[in-house]
Amino acid sequence: MIEIRNLTKKYGDKLAVDNISFNVAKGEILGFLGPNGAGKSTTMNMLTGYLSLSSGSIKIDGFDILDNPVEAKAKVGYLPEHPPLYLDMTVKEYLDFVYDLKKVTENRDEHLNKIMDTVKISDVKNRVISNLSKGYKQRVGIAQAMIGNPEVLILDEPTVGLDPKQIIEIRDVIKKLGREHTVILSSHILQEVNAICERVIIINKGKLVASDTPENLGRALSNENKFQMRIAGKERDILDALENITGIKYVKSLGKKEEGTIDFIIESEPEKDVRRDIFFSLADAKCPILSMQNMALSLEEVFLTVTKSAESGMELVSDINEEEIEIVGAKNTKDEEEEKVDEGNI
């Protein structure tokens, strides 16, 4: 559906996108990951014909974006980073305008009402866009991209600015759209890409650094054998109890965060599940486990890992800086200075 060959974009001397090639199959949902300034938006702007290419080629359903721009653009719905809204129009007027602009042939009211229902903006359709909240504006932006049922949807950070409930709704909408459309969406939230996408492409500094299914990337990158625990008891007792368990690679104490408890990071040998052993051992030592959480990697760490493994074979994350680790569901409220960090290798 989309063929990208040796795509390059230069701003003056600066290479924003450096020789990227990939294909997107019909009906696929592709996640586009990268930190700020990695070249995500630039790539998307080139895919939609907003920016020209320095070299390379982009074909959308066989139409070259430079040679047949009108035909190629007709197949694409685009939600840019900032939704392109005319703030002085009402939602309905705006969507009517986009409908005219894209020369859609479907029944106007039926088509627009269906889209407004899908992204849940029917109740604000007569309000002026400048008075809408950011979440609503974002949804009007998504609606705009859907007008004309384009075969390809390109969404640049579609869930930015939405509240958690809306994020879940929009993800569902995108998933649903993915059944009939080819979708490319960019994000810097790994969980989001995991939840929606069938394939993930990671770019960094304009270069393509990884392309795989989220499962494969996740297996390599999210550390299932590393978790954080909060255990009640004396540190010495706990360390003694843990010492008896085979398969633990190391234990790191994060100090006291709650009265009478100690927090630990525990990593086991790969492919070895030590959680049951830890439970029984600590139970015997009368040190109850208050919480146990798998550790997820933030995108930054995925990057570090991906770029590092590209340089030096496959070396996984065992020595990440503690400050960069993001713990899913856990809140770190204390100051870093207050924590006394002991490192006890067993």
């Binding site: 907003y50 020209s52 009108v70 035909e71 653009k73 392109p84 002085d88 986009v98 602009l101």
Partner: protein, 244 residues
Amino acid sequence: MKAIFKREIKSYFKSPIGYIFLAAFMFFASLMFVFINLSAQTASMSGFFQNISMIFVFVIPVLTMRTMSEERKSKTDQLLLTAPVKITDIVLGKFFAAASVLLIGFLAILSYIFILKLYGNPAVAEIMVGFLGLFLMGLLYVAIGIFMSSITESQVIAAVSTFGVLFFIWFLGLIGLSFSSVLTGALSWLGKALDWILGFISVNQRFYDFTVGTLNFVPVFYFVSLTALFIFLSIQVVEKRRFK
């Protein structure tokens, strides 16, 4: 092009800009009509036409300042440029919308002819030629305004620079006069040459033919081709920005 034209027209009258433009245009035009024609009790409008070109220098920038700059500032250019339309259609849609608002003002001041008819014997055909020239000049100024708007993101800069360019063009004729009066003696040929060059590119010089009621091919061609040139340049500015 139709969709963009429709949206632009609506936007002129949703914001105060359309009203401000029409109000200012009609107010100053009528003021001139009162002083030049009614007070002086003349049915010839050539004096009116020669003076009204000054008003355009002030009001046209208001009409065109946001056409292209606002799209860039609010990022709506991303919608237009990724939609299946040509850049030419986008710019032309905007040009025709601004031209239509200008036309509304024109239809209003055409009523002066009827007022003159009430009290005298105006040469209607000649006056119509004057109005045609005035309108062609307005279209050229609109094209220049759109071009100036396309090179900036700021409405204010667009308005001020359009005003600067229009004022300069309007002034060219006067500057030319002073050259031959300053450069005398051995350099008088240079003064005359500069006069001729500036006179040639001076809009007012071309406009003069219309004001006295003569319809020539050359000035019509002059206005139409310059208007087309500035529309073309605006399209190129938008197009080239994609390659930056």
